[in-house]
């Protein structure tokens, strides 16, 4: 039997009615107009094709989905009133709310949102010529979708998306997917009004008049690279939980250098404070109460060792192959790498806030009220400090011994690329290089930094195997630990671990050991507790064998000057939840460090309770 | 020479230039009187100071030059004392006008020829607009430009060299000056056109009662137009006299040399007389007669003391020690003697 969460209202205060004090005693601003300057314009409003963060963050507020997360990350019904899953876990039936309207950008009613809108969207996404970037998300789970996408079948009715009537939608999966609900908040499962889509044709999504809205906001004005003005959708089904009336976005290419100044002058409600300017904000008495960290995200950064080096002979790929297949060598590097110092290039004030010991970040997913990172062998890793000079030196000695025997030359050359468009990465690379060479000695390792232009960066470095040791990152696609194993799968293009020749004490290839652990976890579809534990153990194995070194978790914009408390907004480890403005409210004063920390703590405990509540 | 009224009198003028930190004396105490209505020709080789000398009458010396001493008296004013532009504006054009050597570059290429003439008229003749235009057309006609009305609207590049020189002359004449200085007005022109221009100037002189100073190194031109001739050498006037006097009875060895080197006087198959050497360096102080080092007839005193002017006739004087009674008698070169003889014969023939 499927779960059917109570479709109760989220525990927000009752929507403010006329005459009520919307400032709640001066806590919130009287005028709920959010102003912001942005440096990067969206490419399109066609939410069915694009998956860039910036495009999705706009679409998230314009179109609503079947389900949504509340501010604690608990799944709540949205367009779907309720839903059920078949016994075999393959058939998901959603019952839609009635009377949800599609409106145009001026708020004029166009049609009602029906089950067919989801079918139409799936059809559009799965049609190859539409170049939808989210197609693979859909066809990775939906029955016959991949075949349709590859034009092996042409009859869309065979694909597992059906509207049995106007308010009943059935998704049929190709295999049970326990986390399917979480995928529904992704743009791939957004609805679209078919007659309108057809009418627009190619023009769909190129202007604010070229899409229809059923979400909390209408994009009333859109002049690319000038402004985006969104106003509250008065026809929105949950409009009582939409507090910010206007989202006034102005374009400025130099927003990062000017944002702080604009905030100071009261011209924006939110400004990103780049690391370079942090000192000023932290020390200036006038400013230091107006800056706060951003909430942690779910993108994680980690260093990987390359097991299939493809770089120039100049950097001795053969020698690297010998070295990288030695666990002590890898571990010596992990132990010698001062991750706090590295992260300090991005967040010099509180690097510990972001340093991470796992690949999967905390607060990503949980089972039985227990956070994933506290499960199984991962829990042991959580509090550990990998950085240990003494250990690094002893590991080095061992490695030197073993590697000399294996015929390696010293110093081992390490090729470390970075992307030139990111200033902190360049700095981090310098910190890492210097740290490794001083602690381990340049007679042992010699790091060469390889700057690469942003154009074709991945193809030129990681994907081409043109590195030995490199910072990479990964973000989740759905709310299940499996998503973080993707980079390390066979035939992936992260660090090619399947090429390792190293064997464990039992003589088994260590990658094969890891792979079998993953297979076992993936196969476990019913007992989620077990599934989570298996994944956690596999991840710990990967880290303990130094295939990979976790580094940090993304933290949105780092530091911000803002009047928006992030904890009031919906939360989800992935998808569009954090991008929506529902629930957000402008404070009367900028958030200070302290306020942020308190709010975070409060949120953390409330979330634990909420999760436990939901798990019941 | 029609009358003896002096219009301009230059006395002992010394002009110096600063050049690359050094001082150059371009005019070394030259004196000259100019009579109303006459044509005076100043001859001399390149660099002898002809242009500088006359430019100083109009305050047109280059910025690095200055009048060191001496006076230029015009209508009871000493022009040598003029300093500001406002002073000079009263002289330039209105009293003294100038025709420059190069007709190709002396006109503003972007203004119609007529406008450029008209500008002079408007400046100096109290006429504006249509009236000025009418006069401009008239003057263009006077200087021998056919179809002046059509030509009025044309640009300098549509004119030939000779015609441009006419326009330049028209501009000068349009100022209605007393004195017209023509700085090498015909050197850039063909012989035939040269003759026409000279004729034109003579006609204009009569019509507008001009006093003209011709500057040239072409003695043929001088013979054609000049009433009097001043011969310059190294910044000084070394001989001055009526045209006939200078041609037929020159006294200064430099004048001799100048005349004898004319091919017209040479005998085919024989060597032409030529002046050896180069003019003196004006940066250095010149002791004695500047021409002495190149003078085959130089006396010892020429290297010691600068000769004074010796008067030959009341209208003819020369600066050479050869005229001193104590000096040995030196006959002028053969070619000059021959010319004098021929002239005598010709005169007889005419009678």
């Amino acid at each position: 039997g499927g779960t059917n969460p109570d479709p109760a209202q989220p525990e927000q205060p009752e929507g403010p009615s006329q005459g009520e004090d919307i400032t709640e005693g001066g806590k919130y601003a009287a005028e709920q107009v959010y102003k912001y300057t942005y440096a990067e314009e969206i490419t399109t409003l066609n939410y069915l094709i694009n998956t860039t963060w910036i495009d999705m963050s706009v679409a998230a507020n314009l179109v609503d989905t079947l389900v949504q997360y509340d501010k604690y990350g608990v799944l709540q019904p949205a367009l779907a009133e309720k839903w059920e899953v078949s016994e075999d876990g393959l058939e998901w039936t959603f019952h839609l709310k009635k009377g949800i309207k599609w409106v145009d950008f001026e708020g004029n009613e166009v049609a009602e949102t029906t089950a067919n809108d989801f079918v139409a969207s799936a059809k559009y996404i799965l049609t190859k010529v539409n170049e939808s970037e989210s197609a693979n998300v859909v066809y990775s789970v939906i029955k016959n979708a991949e075949e349709y996408f590859n034009e092996e079948i042409t009859d869309f009715t065979q694909v597992g998306v059906k509207a049995t009537d106007d308010y009943t939608l059935v998704y049929t999966l190709k295999e049970p997917v326990p986390y399917f609900e979480s995928m529904l908040t992704y743009v791939s499962f957004f609805p679209v009004y078919e007659p309108f889509l057809e009418e627009m044709g190619d023009v769909f999504g190129t202007a604010n008049s070229a899409i229809l809205y059923n979400g909390p906001y209408l994009l009333t004005e859109f002049e690319p690279q000038i402004k985006r003005l969104s106003t509250k959708n008065e026809a929105y089904w949950d409009k009582d939980n939409v507090f910010v009336k206007v989202l006034d976005y102005k374009y400025n290419k130099e927003a990062s250098s000017l944002g702080g100044e604009l905030f100071r002058r009261g011209e924006v409600s939110h400004a990103v404070i780049p690391t370079t300017n942090l000192d000023e904000w932290m020390t200036n008495p006038e400013l230091k109460d107006k800056i706060s960290p951003d909430r942690l995200g779910t993108y994680t950064y980690f260093y990987v060792f390359n097991f299939k080096p493809q770089f120039d002979a100049e950097y001795e790929p053969e020698n690297w192959k010998i070295a990288v297949n030695n666990v002590n060598f890898r571990k010596s590097i992990v132990a010698a790498l001062n991750r706090r110092a590295a992260v300090a290039t991005e967040d010099p004030y509180n690097p510990d806030y972001r340093v991470l010991n796992t690949i999967t970040p905390p607060n990503f997913t949980s089972q039985d009220g227990l956070d994933y990172t506290d499960i199984g062998e991962l829990s042991a890793l959580k509090g550990k400090d990998f950085y240990n000079e003494a250990e690094a030196k002893s590991l080095k000695e061992k490695a030197v011994e073993e590697l000399t025997a294996a015929g390696a030359k010293f110093p081992v050359k390490i090729l470390m690329p970075y992307n030139t468009n990111s200033s902190y990465w360049a700095q981090e690379a310098q910190v890492v290089k210097q740290g490794l060479e001083t602690i381990l000695g340049s007679d042992y390792v010699q790091v060469t930094l390889l700057p690469h232009a942003p154009t074709g960066f991945l193809d030129g470095t990681r994907r081409a195997g043109n590195y030995s040791f490199m910072q990479v990152n990964w973000g989740p696609d759905y709310a299940d630990p499996q998503t973080y194993t993707d980079p390390f799968r066979r035939d992936g293009n992260y660090n090619f671990p399947e090429y390792t020749t190293e064997v464990d004490a039992d003589g088994k290839n260590i990658y094969e050991v890891y792979e079998s652990m993953i297979q076992e976890a993936k196969a476990e579809l019913i007992d989620l507790t077990k599934r989570y534990e298996l994944f956690a153990n596999a991840e710990a194995y990967l880290i303990n064998n130094a295939f990979v070194m976790p580094l940090k978790v993304s933290a949105g914009d780092g530091y911000v000057a803002s009047v928006i408390l992030p904890f009031e907004r919906p939360y989800a480890p992935f998808g569009i939840a954090t991008m929506t403005w529902k629930g957000a409210r402008l404070l009367a004063d900028p958030i200070s460090m302290e306020e942020f920390e308190n709010a975070q703590e409060e949120w953390q405990t409330e979330r634990e309770n909420a999760l436990k509540e939901a798990a019941k | 020479m029609t009358n003896n009224e002096k219009v301009l009198s230059v006395d002992n003028l010394v002009i110096k230039f600063n050049l690359r930190g050094q001082e150059l004396t371009a005019i070394r105490g030259a004196s000259l009187e100019l009579y109303k209505g006459e044509s005076l020709a100043i001859v001399g080789e390149s660099g002898s100071g002809k242009s500088v000398f006359t430019k100083s009458f109009m305050g047109l010396l280059d910025a690095n030059g200055r009048i060191e001493s001496g006076s230029i008296i015009y209508k009871d004013n000493d022009l040598a004392k003029y300093k500001t532009e406002d002073d000079w504006i009263k002289i330039r054009g209105k009293e003294i006008a100038m025709v420059f050597q190069d007709p190709m570059t002396s006109l503003n290429p972007l203004k119609t020829v007529g406008k450029q003439v008209q500008e002079s008229i408007e400046l100096h003749q109290n006429l504006q607009g249509e009236e000025a235009k009418k006069l401009a057309v008239e003057i263009l006609n006077d200087v021998g430009i056919s179809e002046p009305e059509r030509r009025y609207k044309q640009y300098p590049h549509e004119f030939s060299g000779g015609m441009r020189q006419r326009v330049v002359i028209a501009i000068a004449v349009a100022c209605n000056p007393n004195i017209l200085i023509c700085d090498e007005p015909t050197t850039a022109l063909d012989v035939t056109i040269q003759a026409q221009i000279l004729q034109l100037l003579k006609n204009l002189q009569k019509k507008y009662q001009l006093t003209i100073i011709y500057i040239t190194h072409d003695l043929g031109v001088v013979a054609n137009v000049a009433d009097r001739i001043a011969v310059m050498y190294a910044g000084d006037i070394i001989e001055l006299g009526l045209s006939e006097e200078v041609f037929f009875d020159p006294k200064h060895p430099y004048t001799w040399a100048l005349l004898s080197s004319l091919p017209q006087l040479g005998i085919k198959g024989e060597e032409l007389y030529s002046i050896k050497g180069t003019p003196p360096n004006l940066f250095k102080e010149i002791k004695g007669d500047a021409f002495a080092p190149r003078n085959p007839h130089a006396l010892k005193i020429d290297f010691e003391k600068r000769p004074p002017y010796f008067e030959v006739t009341p209208t003819h004087k020369a600066r050479t020690w050869l005229l001193d009674p104590r000096a040995p008698k030196v006959e002028p070169p053969l070619s000059i003697q021959k010319m004098r003889e021929m002239e005598v014969k010709r005169g007889e023939r005419l009678e």
Partner: protein
């Protein structure tokens, strides 16, 4: 005359075709990764192929070229592919060009007025105070990187004069600073050149004649020298006006001006081939047309110049 321009236009057209072909080929050297956004890592081979195929990038190069020429000859600049997918390039460019052109013309007017006055002042008082002052300005504006003083202006002028920090079409005051910034360098440029040309002209014989004629130096300046000195600049004037549509990358970014400044840089980096080509085509034609207009303008100013005899397309 007409024939001359027709042949010249034809030759320019050929040049343009070569230019655009080279750019076309150059753009094909860029990596495929660039055609995708940040989501590239998450796409699978099928999706990548689908997009590339759609863009026609999987065709053999000659076929791509042929298609490109055909649509170009039809006057079709195509649709943007990555910058704003599916939007007509003409539409993208249209608004931006107008904005940049407005700023360009405004600042050009300002710098022409100020620059020419300053240059004339400098030439008149050669070696004196104004000349020295102007020279300091010219040197400063030319030698100090613009990035630095634009920022200074933006920070301090907004503070001191209470001017808006960012541009907003509807706020007239917000035009001031960008125009000021834009005109700083060009002002120096015009001042420098007009001074140089004036000094050149002042050494010419006709000025000597004008002086001998009795014109005051002020009148000589106004009636003769200024116009003549302007002629050599006239040639580049139309081109510089037209080139303002290219915008200024610094100023436009700093003040949020929705113009074309830096657009080329952005679209090359985004690998929006069609937009790059459209821009290159635009800029090149502007260059060519500008020079031609310059020649016409110059021949209007200078009666000596007849364009009928042969000359390159410069």
């Amino acid at each position: 005359m007409m024939k001359y321009y027709v042949t010249r236009l034809f030759r320019s057209f050929l040049t343009l075709m070569i230019v655009i072909t080279i750019v076309f080929l150059l753009m094909r050297m860029m990596p495929i990764e660039g055609y995708f956004g940040s989501g590239f890592d998450k796409l699978d081979a099928g999706q990548i192929e689908a997009k590339l195929k759609n863009l026609g990038l999987l065709d053999p190069l000659p076929v791509q070229l042929k298609n490109f020429y055909i649509s170009l000859l039809k006057g079709d600049l195509g649709q943007s592919i990555t910058y704003r997918p599916k939007v007509d390039n003409t539409k993208i460019l249209g608004d931006k060009l107008i904005t940049s052109l407005r700023f360009g013309v405004a600042s050009l007017t300002l710098s022409l007025i100020v620059g020419l006055s300053l240059g004339i002042l400098m030439a008149r008082h050669k070696g004196k105070f104004w000349d020295k002052f102007g020279t300091c300005y010219v040197v400063g504006a030319n030698a100090v990187p613009a990035v630095i003083y634009y920022l200074l202006i933006q920070v301090f002028f907004t503070d001191i004069f209470k001017l808006p920090l960012l541009f907003d079409k509807s706020v007239p005051k917000s035009w001031i600073l960008p125009i000021l910034c834009l005109s700083l360098v060009t002002t120096a440029y015009y001042a420098m050149w007009i001074r140089r040309y004036m000094v050149d002209e002042l050494n010419k014989d006709y000025v000597r004649l004008a002086r001998a004629k009795g014109l005051k130096s002020k009148e000589i300046m106004i009636r003769h020298v200024m116009r003549n000195a302007f002629v050599p600049m006239a040639q580049y004037l139309p081109a510089s006006i037209l080139y303002t549509v290219a915008g200024s990358i610094y100023v436009e970014s700093l003040f949020s001006i929705p113009g074309t400044g830096g657009l080329l840089v952005t679209v090359i980096q985004r690998q929006d081939n069609t937009l790059v080509q459209a821009l290159v085509l635009l800029y090149s034609s502007i260059g060519i047309v500008g020079l031609m207009l310059g020649d016409i303008l110059m021949s209007a100013f200078d009666p000596r110049i007849k364009l009928s005899h042969e000359g390159g397309s410069r």
